[in-house]
């Protein structure tokens, strides 16, 4: 389960994301990251293969039209 992420795993993922975080910062972040992963897991249970993302790209639309 992603929600079981440990501080050590968070440190590894931080480096992979290009972040230099102190041990204090990792401690402060851990509960929020766990919550974020739990939320993402809950959302996975909701969607079916029929659900496309809400974001749509409109190829004909220009910001300078």
């Amino acid at each position: 389960m992603a929600s079981e992420i440990t501080r050590d795993e968070l440190r590894v993922r931080a480096v992979r994301a290009g972040l230099e975080l102190s041990e204090d910062e990792l401690d402060q972040l851990l509960p929020g990251v766990k919550r974020a992963y739990n939320q993402a897991d809950d959302l996975r249970k909701l969607v079916t293969n029929a659900d496309e993302p809400a974001a749509v790209f409109a190829p004909a639309r220009s910001k300078r039209e």
């Binding site: 290009g18 919550r35 909701l46 659900d51 993302p53 809400a54």
Partner: protein, 466 residues
């Protein structure tokens, strides 16, 4: 009329007074500037006061109005902008050290539109840093305090907009709303704020928090004033990729039509009682508001609140992922410039995967369908705006906030129009707001319902003792 009475007029009343020459735009502007000078030191609602510009604009408005060049109900009305709306030549900070000295070379579309309507710009308003997290204790500008009790927060992120209106420092303001940032401070400060339908008001020139959830919108001291402001702001803008080609109705046309027979949806089950639920005093005030609406002829229909509850998870996942994507480069080069609150929240987004984000956007589509299906049975959806009264600064607990239902998040996810109107006070004299949600592009229904409630009650006539 005393200075205080002058400053607490609604836009509608001020516009009538200007045309009857009971006072002039210069007098309105001077009254606001004097009041800002005398009381904003304890509220910190303004980051920048543009006094000289405001007086010059007021003189021009006066000349124009008196020579018959009337631009409409906002002409000569002093307003202020949340400090994430770009203002050409005027510092725009987002309440952050990152942009502490940024002077844009362009106006946001909304900035330009309100100027075109003849408003007078008093200045730029404090906010939560980058519209994210909570009040910023380590930002270069002090956190905004609640005029009803300065030991308490205003709610956010449009904190300065809520405080300045409640304190009578301006007649209208702009906020922005990604998870509740117009409606929360409106509720906590006892003013009115509407998050219009996604795409209704241009976000061009508004510093983003989360592109797919950000909404721009007005805040004011009455429902009619919000309708007047939205009338000026609404419309298609090619510079905003999310801008909608939607007809703009007369938002005041149905204000006085009443709500007899209106079907109100109440998504209480599986939502209002999740985790810590709604604070008892807030719930009691909300139930009184419900009784008032029923006495006005509305019918209440219970709805399943589960999809609304789940919507928060999708909203937060999308929000933190998009926010981190926007700030990533700046954060990696100058992390020390971000305040601790925004840094912690934003960094959560750095750890999400692409699949997490896309799953949230898929869940958004699925939940949207389930929430929209309710409008086959009801015309509006009703909730308290915020599940509890504003916190005291010294007992702020962001973790507890996460344990209360968020009544605002789902309507950023769905993009539906949602208004907050004052609906009472707790025993400690802290304001409570009522949220009314309508189908997409039916802001007129929000306004009609909110107006009927407002006119049947006295809450909007109360002002804080300052």
């Amino acid at each position: 009329m005393t200075t205080s009475e002058l400053c607490y007029l609604t836009i509608t009343e001020a516009a009538a007074g200007l045309r009857a020459k009971r006072f002039s735009p210069v007098e309105l502007t001077k009254a606001c500037l004097e009041r800002i000078e005398s009381i904003d030191g304890k509220l910190h609602s303004f980051i920048t006061v543009t006094g000289a510009l405001a007086l010059e604009q007021a003189r021009q408005a006066e000349q124009a109005l008196y020579s018959g060049k009337d631009r409409g109900p906002l002409h000569g009305i002093p307003i202020a902008l949340k400090d994430l709306y770009a203002t050409k030549g005027i510092r725009t900070t987002c309440h952050s050290a990152v942009l502490e000295n940024w002077i844009p070379d362009h106006d946001a579309t909304a900035t330009a539109t309100l100027a075109e309507a003849g408003t007078i710009l008093l200045g730029k308003l404090g906010m939560h840093e980058f519209a994210f997290g909570g009040p910023s204790v380590d930002a270069p500008f002090p956190a905004v305090r609640n005029p009803w009790n300065i030991a308490h927060v205003t709610g956010g992120s449009s904190s300065g907009s809520g405080a300045a209106l409640a304190a009578g420092l301006c007649y209208g303001a702009l906020g922005s709303d990604t998870g509740g940032s117009i409606r929360n401070p409106a509720a906590h400060c006892s003013i009115v704020g509407i998050k219009p339908t996604y795409g209704r008001v241009s976000r061009h020139g508004v510093v983003p928090l989360s592109w797919s959830l950000d909404h721009a919108g007005p805040m004011a001291r009455s429902v009619e004033d919000c309708a007047i402001m939205l009338q000026a702001l609404a419309g298609y803008d090619a510079r905003d990729p999310a801008s909608a080609h939607a007809r703009v109705p007369d938002f005041r046309s149905a204000l006085k039509d009443g709500i007899k027979g209106l079907r109100i949806g109440l998504p209480r089950a599986n939502w209002f009682d999740e985790n810590l639920g709604v604070a008892p005093e807030t719930y009691s005030v909300f139930n009184d508001a419900l009784k008032t609406l029923m006495a006005l002829g509305a019918e209440v229909i219970e709805l399943d609140g589960k999809p609304f509850s789940l919507a928060r998870k999708a909203n937060q996942t999308i929000l933190i992922a998009e926010a981190y994507a926007y700030h990533e480069k700046t954060y990696q080069s100058t992390p020390e410039k971000f305040g601790s609150t925004v840094r912690r929240r934003m960094l959560e987004g750095a750890f999400l995967s692409a699949a997490d984000y896309i799953t949230a956007q898929r869940a958004r589509a699925a939940l949207n369908e389930r929430m929209l299906a309710n409008f086959a049975r009801v015309e509006v959806i009703l909730t308290p705006t915020v599940a509890r009264p504003p916190d005291a600064f010294d007992s702020l607990d962001p973790n507890e906030q996460n344990l209360r239902p968020s009544f605002t998040n789902p309507f950023n996810l769905t993009g539906l129009p949602a208004i907050s109107v004052p609906c009472g006070f707790t025993g400690s004299n802290l304001p409570v707001g009522l949220q009314i949600v309508a189908p997409a592009f039916e802001e007129t229904t929000c306004f009609r319902t909110a107006y009927a409630y407002e006119q049947a009650t006295e809450w909007h006539r109360r002002n804080p003792a300052l």
